[in-house]
């Protein structure tokens, strides 16, 4: 099992779990949850520095970018141009090309604006970014993103922050089966079993934020997610037994007294 690594754009990760860094009580709690989760990659947002208070706590003081892969996102961007502008700055701040593209639409459901996402993905790939793309769970659009050269396809399991679990396992499975780049369920996980379901469907990884950050005990939930992802992955690799319509006794019927 030690060789079963997540590989994205040539980078290897021991953990198939990626966690967000939003919504925690503070960066300290975030850092502790990260350790408990075993994740090697964290999503981060790009925002203006508070020039009037340069001594504000900074994420990098708590989560070492040398030790963990920062995955800058484009949350808050509604056009391709905004996304490219944001990630060009992120690349200069961090010095890496691996990025998460998300172009959102309506705040009520935070569904990706796929037309704009496709346009932004093309612009970023042209600009030599390795693009991990948050997208709808539509296999046709997922294939288009893969053909364009995206490094990972990240369909939502349910609306961002909803914790409703994988709403459309059929689509996720179809995307997994057709793809040759990593498929990572991004958004929708609420509890450990949701992460396991995603991995059992054959996803290469799971990205989550709220499920950990808004758990009553985020550190313990982070640990639960670590094991949930491992369990789901191993079950997928092991291959589940066929579903049967009727019972099949586990103890032999022959030799009864």
């Amino acid at each position: 099992m030690s060789e079963d690594k997540l590989i994205i754009a040539g980078r290897k990760f021991d953990s198939r779990l990626i966690i967000g860094t939003g919504k925690y009580r503070d960066y300290q709690q975030n850092a502790e949850a990260l350790i408990a989760s075993g994740a090697g990659m964290v999503t981060v947002a790009v925002r203006r520095v508070n020039v009037s208070n340069p001594d504000e706590p900074m994420l990098a003081d708590f989560i070492d970018p040398e030790k963990y892969t920062y995955l800058p996102n484009t949350a808050g961007c509604f056009t391709g141009e905004d996304a490219v502008r944001t990630l060009r700055l992120a690349r200069e701040a961090g010095g890496w090309d691996l990025v998460k593209l998300e172009v959102l639409s309506d705040p009520k459901h935070l569904y990706p604006d796929m037309e704009e996402t496709l346009r932004a993905a093309a612009m970023l790939i042209e600009d030599e970014f390795d693009v991990m793309v948050y997208c709808s769970d539509d296999p046709v659009l997922a294939r288009r993103l893969e053909n364009m050269g995206c490094a990972a396809i990240m369909p939502l399991g349910a609306p961002i922050g909803s914790g409703l679990g994988i709403q459309n396992p059929v689509n996720i499975r179809l995307i997994v089966e057709q793809s040759s780049v990593p498929i990572i369920v991004d958004a929708g996980v609420g509890t450990a079993s949701d992460a396991t379901v995603a991995m059992e469907l054959g996803c290469d990884g799971v990205l989550m934020n709220t499920a950990i950050a808004e758990a009553r005990d985020p550190i313990r939930m982070a640990e639960a997610m670590k094991y949930a992802v491992i369990a789901g992955r191993r079950a997928y690799l092991a291959g589940r037994m066929p579903r049967k319509k009727y019972a099949d006794p586990s103890s032999p019927l022959a030799g009864l007294i």
Binding site: T21, V44, A45, R47, V51, G161, N209
Partner: protein
């Protein structure tokens, strides 16, 4: 540019030259004249390793921070990474 400047909270009229920059959408009138990007970072007390700067919508490479002089009216965005999903 020549302005009535504010220094440490006190307004005064001055013959000294100051640089006007728009940083993260806010006008700053009281910056020392002839500043480089590195000089501005030091002036603002920011950690230079964790930030990136855009000047008039062009990313400023870190390798040019020491040499690139800022001009009156430049629009700067100074960003860093914060928590996000």
């Amino acid at each position: 540019m020549l302005v009535a400047a504010v220094w440490r909270g006190k307004p005064y009229l001055t013959g000294a030259k100051f640089l006007k920059l728009i940083i993260n959408g806010k006008e700053h009138f009281d910056l020392p004249d002839s500043l480089t990007v590195a000089g501005l970072i030091a002036h603002l007390g920011l950690p230079d390793k964790k930030i990136a700067i855009e000047r008039n919508r062009e990313v400023v490479p870190k390798s040019t921070f020491d040499d690139l002089g800022l001009s009156d009216g430049d629009r700067l965005e100074i960003i860093h990474f914060i928590g996000g999903g």
